[in-house]
Assembly symmetry: C2
Homo-oligomer: 341 residues x 2
């Protein structure tokens, strides 16, 4: 059963396709009686407009590409929620384009966006994308782009990112303020700009308080399993840390249980703080204080910026870089000895 077109409806009623088209969108040129009749028949024939044809005429489609390094349970789901919140009421749909941490795939994804003339692109880069490559990819694209979270240095495109350095600095300072002396740091992939910035913030906080930056207490883990390993090694050290800064949820989920497993009590023997969306820290007991990295908020901001780019149709203005501040959320149980111990 082929789907009926506007012509089918028209010929069934002995009118012109253009009349049907106008009637269905309540164009005043069409008489009220005929208009209703057409609508009735169209509904009866279960006519639905072919969007490919519509879009060809209208030369635009309401699709936004979302290019992300990987579809993980961390961070991106909430970013997507934020994006959807903005896009849905405006009639845009999101096309998922995960790159699986492969720059090659990322390039393909971007190419897809170009060929299919999506309305715009939201992108977070893979950990292996070189700044030069990212730049040329986006430049070739010739459509509205907003970079979020995993950005690259000095990109002439709009971006929405966290105040990474500041967040890490304040997190570390929090540990220092609560009296910790030997502070370890667990970071993500060292290629990432956010890792570098957070490391920088971590280091600065230590420096400011004249605490040593101990190499053996600073580790990089690409995922939760690696974070687990890092913790084992770290906690086996003679001079194990009395506090650990964890730069992300993924690190937390690997490292937190690993600390407990190594026989160290949180928070009595070792304090923990992290940068997080806020959900994960509440899923542990004792809870974890954190600098709030608002995924949904970043998604919203990025999407808002993108639609304004799309709808204002300007591309070559000077890029806007939005730095989102992180808020400290302090869980009371973090810095107290736990009941019964």
């Amino acid at each position: 059963m082929k789907r009926s077109t506007i012509k089918d409806v028209a010929s069934r009623l002995g009118v012109n396709p253009s009349t049907v088209s106008r009637a269905l969108k309540d164009h005043p040129d069409i008489g009220l009686a005929l208009r209703e009749e057409i609508k009735r028949v169209a509904a009866e024939m279960r006519y639905v407009p072919n969007q490919m044809a519509v879009q060809l005429r209208q030369r635009q489609r309401h699709l936004v590409g979302l290019v992300i390094p990987e579809m993980t349970m961390f961070f991106y789901p909430s970013v997507i929620r934020g994006i959807e919140e903005v896009l849905e009421p405006r009639g845009y749909q999101l096309v998922m384009l995960p790159s699986n941490e492969s720059p090659v795939r990322e390039a393909q994804n971007l190419k897809f966006c170009g060929e299919n003339q999506l309305a715009g692109v939201l992108i977070s880069f893979t950990r292996h994308t070189l700044p030069a490559d990212g730049l040329s990819l986006l430049s070739d694209l010739d459509m509205p782009v907003v970079v979020f979270d995993k950005s690259l240095p000095e990109l002439p495109f709009d971006s929405v990112i966290l105040e990474d350095e500041d967040a890490a600095r304040r997190a570390t300072q929090f540990l220092i303020d609560s009296g910790c002396k030997r502070i370890g740091g667990l970071f993500g992939s060292p290629n990432l700009l956010i890792t570098q910035k957070r490391l920088q913030g971590f280091r600065k906080a230590l420096e400011k308080s004249d605490l040593p930056f101990v190499e053996s207490l600073v580790r990089f883990a690409g995922n939760a399993a690696e974070a687990d390993l890092c913790v084992r090694e770290m906690m086996d050290l003679d001079d194990a840390p009395d506090a650990v800064f964890m730069m992300s949820d993924e690190i937390v989920m690997g490292a937190y249980p690993a600390i407990l497993r190594s026989g160290v009590n949180i928070p009595r023997d070792c304090s923990v703080i992290c940068i997080s969306d806020g959900f994960i820290p509440g899923c542990y007991y004792p809870g974890i204080s954190y600098l709030h990295h608002d995924g949904a908020g970043i998604g919203r901001e990025a999407a808002l910026r993108l639609v304004s780019l799309i709808e204002s149709d300007q591309s070559a203005v000077l890029p806007l870089h939005r730095m989102v501040n992180a808020e400290l959320v302090e869980l009371e149980s973090t810095n107290r000895t736990v009941k019964g111990e």
Copy 2:
């Protein structure tokens, strides 16, 4: 700078658009010399085919709609990974259509799929979708559909779901076998078919061992926060449970820390088992044994089935219902007293 069309390329070379079209796809009708020349110029003019036009002619687009109840960090990210694994090499792209647990939005999403003639649809229903509504929505759609995970009873469409009842039964049996007598159950939204089935499995396991089904030990929680509340109440009971079955990751993340917070020791005072994708249980210490609910596997199966439907172009054959078995994964730390306690 408008993008150049096939006509632009043609007129630049003084040839017909059809010649350009053929040359670019290496049609033998076009002489080799001209063919190369055309390719050169096309590349130089940065010509990219307009997919809307192509798709209009070809009357198909390689987009697959993914309609899910909500974009959460639980389960769906891994499902999406599984789906992408299958779809990407076959040239399909995924369009995200989260329904935010609203049947209205779900209907809109499905309508979008129809109007945009996507190649097919993968759907997991909201917790509020009525069986009759779901049925009529999909029937109206008139395109390949595969339902996964959150299905509805007696749907005449292909589906890929977990052997829910069996998984819950075996999980509960595991608790019974390890000597637990007062077994509590934490379930998700009671509307869901998977909840009903898992509850059924839970109940059957108890019955088989002549253990009582205690109403006060069986609770339903729509999310992690509610699970937290349920646990508080449950653990305050005079006859608190000595084991808890949790039907999902989300329940675990709310309930597990809540148990600890109530001063109960896991696993000494209370054993825990759950149905899970496998990542979350490893993020706790002590770890949690679980029945493996393979999200990526389900995504793969569903996507495979969908592409076979799409490419064989058959719709009215009898529906295939694939039931995926869950595998028991036993963590050693679960049933032992923890070191140092």
